[in-house]
């Protein structure tokens, strides 16, 4: 059967030539378009390590000296601290609030800022410059602020809330993500051990939490959390400290947002600070994805993939329509010899299948060469440590997955494109087909 079909295809090679070339080009093109879609989607699907639902960032602004509401006498460090604390307490005392957190402005998911540092597992490594690069978060325990609970971060072992020792702030204890613990110690069970910064100060590890993604479309990066007791007064401290909180179970988010705007925002005013609004974690995340061009990247790649597939669809419809017409007599003979409609249809579908498969196989070495030369799509984040348990980080697996995805999508679209004209053609009565000639 296959041999017969190959024969057919070869005999009609001039007619098949164009669609074949198109299939080869599209196989290559589609591969390069699906690759970024795969990476971005796979990275996005990795568990984020926090819960974005019903969580908010309070946006705080400050009146600049050029502003009419600016009060020069309020612009001292101590009054600023006092004012900021007053705002914090209003948030803390909201009846709908479950947990709240005071952290640095780089320390909530999808924040535009990103802090990084080098960390060592013992002092000898400092000399040898054997460091692990890690992202870090800072949060402040004052007024009962708890960043882990607010974000919904969980302990790596128990899966429960993370226990913060009472002396964590005073003795500058730190928390590590699993990835960081593994990178430093090769294991995650490291509570009580010490890590070192470049200046040789040591920090006791108070706990290890589940891997955490600062950004939605990126893989978890090693993360270190510093804990402090309280914030420092500074005139621009609204840029330095973020206030975030989560809602109690059962609170209607929409109603709350309305009430916040109307009733709470006017209260959040002290000194030169004021509240300019509320942003949910979901909004922050989407906003960052838009700003960083990820959404654009996906939009572009999806539309290019759609375009290429539509072309293939049209091409297959056109080619097989013409071919069915040209082979009406053949169809008639097959039908009169007792072939069922299905048998006729299947023969054409088998031809399409073979055409796509051969074209895809031809394109693969070119794809492979391209990947070999310029690598996979990179989202622009350089990583020192790759978590090999993710398929997208294993080159062979990665290549196979994208190849398989490309092949299946291409094949499905091509077969649909073939089915439409073939269905119509196989429907004719043998007598009609034979009379035509």
């Amino acid at each position: 059967m296959i041999k017969k079909i190959i024969c057919q295809l070869w005999n009609q090679r001039r007619m098949n030539g164009w669609i074949f070339i198109e299939l080869v080009i599209v196989s290559f093109f589609l591969w390069t378009v699906i690759d970024p879609i795969y990476i971005l989607t796979a990275d996005k699907l990795i568990a984020s390590g926090y819960d974005a639902h019903n969580r908010y960032v309070v946006k705080i602004g400050n009146y600049e000296s050029s502003n009419g509401n600016y009060q020069a006498e309020m612009n001292t460090d101590s009054i600023c601290k006092e004012s900021y604390n007053r705002i914090i307490r209003v948030v803390r005392d909201l009846p709908e609030m479950k947990d709240f957190s005071i952290a640095s402005s780089a320390s909530f998911p999808n924040s535009g800022s990103w802090n990084g540092t080098q960390i060592y597992n013992d002092t000898a490594d400092i000399k040898n410059d054997k460091y692990i690069h890690t992202q870090y978060y800072e949060f402040y325990l004052q007024d009962g602020s708890n960043m882990f609970r607010t974000y919904g971060m969980k302990d790596a072992f128990t899966g429960a809330d993370i226990n913060i020792p009472a002396d964590a702030g005073t003795r500058q204890k730190v928390f590590l993500s699993e990835a960081l613990a593994r990178a430093l110690f090769g294991k995650t069970d490291v509570t009580g051990q010490k890590v070192y910064s470049h200046d040789k100060s040591s920090y006791e590890i108070a706990g290890v939490f589940q891997d955490y993604k600062h950004r939605n479309y990126e893989q978890p990066y090693p993360l270190l959390v510093w804990v402090y007791n309280e914030i420092q007064g500074k005139t621009y401290m609204n840029w330095r400290y973020s206030i975030t909180f989560s809602l109690k179970e059962g609170v209607d988010a929409n109603a709350f947002e309305q009430r916040f705007k109307k009733e709470v925002m006017p209260l959040l005013k002290a000194g030169n600070f004021y509240c300019s609004g509320l942003e949910s974690f979901e909004e922050v995340s989407y906003m960052y994805a838009q700003r960083s061009g990820v959404i654009n990247q996906l939009r572009l790649k999806y539309s290019l993939a759609g375009f290429a597939l539509l072309c293939i669809f049209l091409g297959m419809v056109g080619t097989f329509w013409i071919r069915c017409n040209a082979r009406r007599q053949e169809i008639g003979i097959m039908r009169s010899m007792g072939a069922s409609e299905n048998a006729v249809r299947n023969q054409f579908l088998a031809e399409a299948f073979l055409l796509v498969t051969v074209a895809f196989v031809v394109a693969l070495p070119v794809v492979f060469h391209q990947v070999h030369e310029s690598g996979f799509f990179s989202s622009g984040v350089t990583r020192t440590i790759l978590d090999m348990s993710y398929w997208q980080n294993q080159p062979v697996m990665h290549f196979c997955i994208v190849t398989l995805m490309t092949y299946i999508i291409l094949l499905v679209i091509a077969l649909i494109g073939t089915y439409i004209p073939v269905k119509r053609a196989s429907h004719i009565l043998p007598a009609d087909a034979l009379r035509d000639e």
């Binding site: 669609i19 838009q290 539309s303 375009f307 072309c311 080619t319």
Partner: protein, 434 residues
């Protein structure tokens, strides 16, 4: 002759509806997406209100400096110091005008009438007086603020037409007062609205530069990093190179006489179109790589459908071999026949082109809030959605490009199949069954 070709092509279109529709949809699709791409970059690069002088403009939008002893310990920002405008570049021989602008990315700017409590958010743009000579704003009333106003930090403002209408319900409002961020401002002019599609000039109101608390007249010691974008105008596009050399020369000399810091222009000043790619303040973009990416997409948009079209034309030529045979028997040469096929096909392609261009308008208009940023790897403020003006979509360039595309697509897709069908001898052609 050509009229006859087109007449025959029209008959063929009517006789083969399926062929025509697949062909036209295929062409339309290709042209729609290519045109969408073209419109995006047209709006970025071409003269659009109020940036009509883009072709003779040079920009400085980022600055980097480092200690002369340690190149790696650099410091950079998405803007330069106003000191550059004020003290260093003003008197260059090939400079017609120089202006500086600063947009506010932090938000939280509010505006109100003096007596009313109700406030609304606006996007202010901070500018010096040169800004108004570099860009070609259309004033509906009043005039721009002067350098004296800027130097004196006077609270005056130029309003956009829509903002003026929103707060005063009129555009004839020069001399009226409103409050901006709690301070009283006087209206000195009203201009036609500027779309966010031209982010270098867009705003709801324009106010004197130094009213922005981050902008200062002086430099930070020897460092020239700062917060303003600098726009320079050469008298003619041809003078741009001379102006660029002069700017770079000023920098070279400045760096020679500084003791501690070296200031790096990172290949600036940029041509305007190049500056639209400068999203990273700390290094020059890799234009070659960017261009390669765009050309890859462009080729895919043209060649993938062209293969489809070639396939269809080729099968149609098979059906018309006999006709070609007859025509040759009666004295047509291959050249004439090739011309005929291409002309006939151009009609189909142009039909597709027409659909394509309409489709591209549909795409651009329905996705107007993000489509212009589609190729950007960084978007400053996704919430600022642009409006598309008539001149961005309906202009000779867009239509000519669409037509050129049609011709190109036609050549790519019809040439080889036509040539192929002419390889047969007359006898072979005559004896083929249709």
């Amino acid at each position: 002759m050509i009229k006859l070709y087109l007449k025959q092509a029209w008959t063929l279109i009517k006789q083969n509806k399926l062929f025509t529709s697949i062909y036209v949809v295929g062409t339309g699709l290709s042209i729609a997406l290519t045109m969408t791409m073209f419109i995006i970059f047209y709006v970025k690069f071409a003269p659009i209100y109020p940036e009509y002088n883009r072709d003779r403009m040079l920009t400085i939008k980022a600055m980097k400096c480092y200690p002369k002893t340690n190149k790696e310990s650099w410091n950079c920002n998405g803007g330069a110091s106003y000191y550059l405008v004020d003290k260093m570049l003003k008197d260059l021989p090939h400079l017609e005008a120089i202006g500086a602008g600063k947009q506010d990315f932090m938000g939280n700017n509010t505006i109100a009438l003096p007596d009313k409590k109700e406030v609304m958010e606006v996007n202010p743009y901070y500018a010096d007086s040169g800004f108004w000579s570099v860009f070609s704003f259309r004033f509906l009333a009043g005039k721009p603020f002067t350098q004296a106003d800027v130097d004196a930090d006077l609270p005056v403002a130029v309003l956009s037409e829509s903002l003026a209408k929103r707060i005063f319900a009129s555009t004839d409002v020069v001399g009226k007062y409103f409050t901006f961020n709690g301070k009283e401002f006087r209206v000195c002019g009203v201009v036609q609205d500027v779309s966010n599609a031209t982010p270098d000039t867009a705003g709801d109101l324009w106010i004197p530069l130094f009213l922005h608390s981050w902008v200062s007249r002086t430099s930070e010691g020897e460092k020239l990093i700062g917060n303003v974008h600098i726009y320079m105008l050469a008298p003619t596009p041809a003078d741009k190179e001379a102006l660029r050399a002069e700017v770079q020369d000023v920098f070279r000399k400045y760096n020679l006489q500084t003791s501690e810091y070296e200031n790096d222009l990172m290949q600036q000043p940029d041509d305007f179109w190049k500056s639209t790619f400068r999203k990273n303040s700390c290094e020059a973009p890799d234009w070659g790589e960017l261009l390669k990416g765009l050309i890859y997409i462009l080729l895919a948009l043209l060649f993938i459908p062209a293969m489809n079209l070639s396939g269809m034309i080729s099968s149609r030529m098979d059906h018309r071999l006999c006709e070609l045979g007859v025509r040759r028997a009666y004295g047509a040469t291959n050249k004439i026949l090739l011309g005929q096929v291409l002309w006939e096909n151009l009609l189909l392609t142009c039909l597709g082109g027409l659909i394509g261009i309409l489709l591209s308008y549909l795409i651009v208009l329905t996705a107007s809030d993000w489509i212009l940023n589609l190729f950007d790897d960084w978007v400053n403020d996704p919430a600022k959605t642009p409006f598309l003006s008539f001149e961005m979509l309906f202009n000779p360039w867009i239509f000519s490009f669409a037509f050129v595309l049609c011709v190109l697509l036609n050549l790519i897709s019809a040439f080889v199949p036509a040539l192929w069908s002419l390889r047969h001898t007359i006898i072979q052609s005559l004896n083929t069954k249709r």
